[in-house]
């Protein structure tokens, strides 16, 4: 079981409020991702749940029990750190067995569990090596192995993939997702990478400056961002946000339209402009179009075969059904 509830939790470091009063509930078995720009408090929030930092006020419940004052070891949670935080002086086997040894489990049982975890994570051949002799991906697996053996109520991941190279990151992302499917244990995952958030999460929590901006499923956030910040943060490339005359036509302070919801053609359309930089990804092409009377270039996503060049005259047509409107406070207008 791993149900985690935060009630009016705050955290300040001296004068600085890192977490503003915040409520959140994480259901048993859920994969929850905290996402936000750096400094938004997402890692601090995770560390509050872990017990590595004390809350300034508020209450944390784990499985219905008040855990606010419990030390990390007593919370039944396991954590995977960004730096892996393996014990460099111990073999992989001893690293994985460490939490079991701390729990005074008997030796035979420890060995059995370590072997089991090693099999799941393909670490069988490396059990007698030291962390220093492993690659980044293998170290990450050892860190996950050390978390698995404890059979925790929930796993906490603090940007676990940010030290890996791009290819490995995609692979580990899948592995962690599969692990979640197999173990069905609650996972709380912190990242600044919205792609990781979108692909892995059951539920995304978008944070900014210690506040929760929106909580919802990845597609919820993509389709119905509650404010301009979430609209701009979720989705890649970023949503185009237009202010001024264009927005006024739709009775809004700001309108947002995603690059994939804009048609581009050379014959005619709603907005006229000239092509600036184009980024060719093969499958897709992103055009940055400078439209007449607009301050910022508009990003348009189109197929890889569409071919415009710098300086070409083009016309853009946004899909009216996919237009997002925001008021002068940045909140969504339905």
């Amino acid at each position: 079981m791993g149900r985690i509830t935060l009630e009016q939790v705050t955290k300040s470091f001296g004068e600085v409020d890192v977490i503003r009063p915040l409520d959140l509930s994480i259901e048993d078995g859920e994969f929850v991702v905290f996402v936000g720009p750096s400094g938004c408090g997402k890692s601090t929030l995770l560390r509050l749940i872990a017990g590595l930092e004390d809350v300034s006020s508020g209450r944390i419940e784990i499985d219905g029990q008040d855990a606010t004052e419990l030390p990390p070891a007593k919370r039944g949670l396991a954590m995977v750190f960004q730096s892996y935080a393996l014990y460099p002086h111990m073999s992989v086997r001893k690293n994985i067995a460490f939490p079991l040894r701390m729990a005074k489990m008997d030796k035979a049982e420890q060995d059995r569990k370590v072997e089991q975890a090693a099999a799941v994570l393909n670490l069988g051949d490396y059990l007698d090596r030291r962390p220093g002799q492993l690659s980044g991906g293998q170290r990450q697996r050892v860190a996950i192995g050390r978390a698995i053996v404890r059979e925790p109520a929930a796993f906490l991941f603090d940007e676990p993939l940010s030290n890996l190279d791009a290819a490995l990151r995609v692979g580990m992302r899948l592995e962690i997702s599969e692990l979640h499917k197999r173990l069905t244990t609650t996972m709380v995952y912190v990242t600044h990478d919205q792609v990781e958030a979108m692909t892995m999460a059951d539920k995304i929590v978008v944070l900014r400056a210690g506040n929760i901006e929106q909580v919802g499923s990845p597609l919820d956030l993509y389709r119905r961002p509650l404010n301009e910040f979430v609209a701009g943060f979720i989705g890649s490339p970023k949503m185009n946000l237009l202010k001024g005359a264009e927005a006024a036509k739709d009775n809004a302070a700001t309108i947002g339209i995603r690059p994939e919801h804009i048609g581009i053609s050379s014959d005619g359309g709603e907005w006229a402009g000239k092509v600036g930089v184009s980024e060719h990804l093969g499958s897709d092409t992103f055009f940055h179009v400078h439209c007449d009377g607009m301050a910022e270039p508009i990003t348009v996503r189109s197929g890889g075969e569409v071919d415009f060049h710098r300086g070409d005259q083009v016309y853009l047509t946004p899909d009216p059904a996919q237009l997002h409107r925001f008021d002068d406070k940045g909140l969504r207008i339905e």
Partner: protein, 276 residues
């Protein structure tokens, strides 16, 4: 890119380094030479000293006159005792300052270091009186305590520097894994800091072994270590150079040998954190 060093530059630096090395080591070499001469030869000019005959009679005389082994044992007990006692206090102190620093931790560290800037003689009288009244004069216990206190700032500073290099996340991982504070220090911090602790121990054993001011002033005979053993051969009259030299060689030999075999560890300890 490595900086190009010409052969000439290399030769010059080599000569300078060797000259400095020999200059610094020369007094010890000269003591070793004098210890192998007769008293009469030992006070003659340098040329005569080098050309005169060799003998080990001074070593025999020193052995016959005083109990080397007693002084040696005292030195070992005092040097090891003060270092280990210092470690017991310094490990928790350095842990606290490195991993849960407060606003004024830096000031505390500077204050500790500042105690090393006081001339020891400034506190000789009060300490002497305290020792006299508590019966610690001329006892190993007394010397262990006083040398521990003298070297404690250095032990704490060295350990602090080492501990600072250990990533806090690893200790947090141990905490998450269910380790109590005691187990965290015992199974994770200490093993990771072993190289640092080893060089700290080594340096402090050497400092305590060579400490002469307190060992000479606070002992008479019972607890007198090797420094007192050397000093006992210096006298206002008569010939004593050869015997004094022999005593000196016997006193510094053990620590010289330890230092020689552990020089890598020592250099690493003294320059830790400077280079990665």
């Amino acid at each position: 890119m490595a900086r190009a060093v010409s052969n000439r530059e290399k030769t010059v630096t080599t000569i300078v380094a060797w000259t400095l090395g020999i200059l610094m080591f020369f007094p010890i070499l000269w003591i070793a030479i004098l210890s192998l001469k007769t008293e009469v030869d030992a006070i003659r000019g340098p040329i005569e000293v080098l050309t005169s005959g060799w003998t080990t009679e001074s070593y025999g005389a020193v052995q016959a006159r005083s109990d080397y082994f007693k002084h040696f044992t005292n030195s070992v007990v005092i040097a090891l005792g003060s270092t280990l006692l210092g470690l017991l206090i310094a490990v928790p102190a350095a842990w606290a300052m490195a991993f849960v620093p407060a606003k004024r931790t830096k000031n505390v560290l500077m204050w500790m270091l500042s105690t090393k800037m006081l001339p020891p003689v400034g506190v000789l009288i009060p300490i002497y009186l305290i020792f006299r009244d508590t019966g610690l004069l001329d006892t190993r216990t007394g010397l262990v305590i006083v040398l521990m206190l003298i070297n404690l700032p250095i032990i704490i500073w060295m350990l602090y520097t080492y501990f600072r290099e250990i990533p806090g996340e690893i200790l947090e991982a141990a905490r998450m894994d269910g380790a109590s504070l005691r187990k965290e220090v015992l199974y994770v911090l200490t093993p990771m800091a072993v190289p640092g602790i080893a060089s700290t121990v080594l340096l402090n054993v050497i400092l305590a072994w060579n400490e002469a001011f307190w060992t000479l002033n606070l002992t008479a005979s019972k607890a007198a270590p090797l420094t007192a053993f050397i000093a006992s051969y210096s006298s206002p009259e008569g010939l004593f150079y050869a015997k004094l030299s022999a005593a000196s060689v016997m006193a510094i030999a053990p620590i010289l040998i330890i230092g020689w075999f552990s020089q890598k560890q020592l250099v690493r300890g003294l320059t830790f954190g400077a280079v990665k």
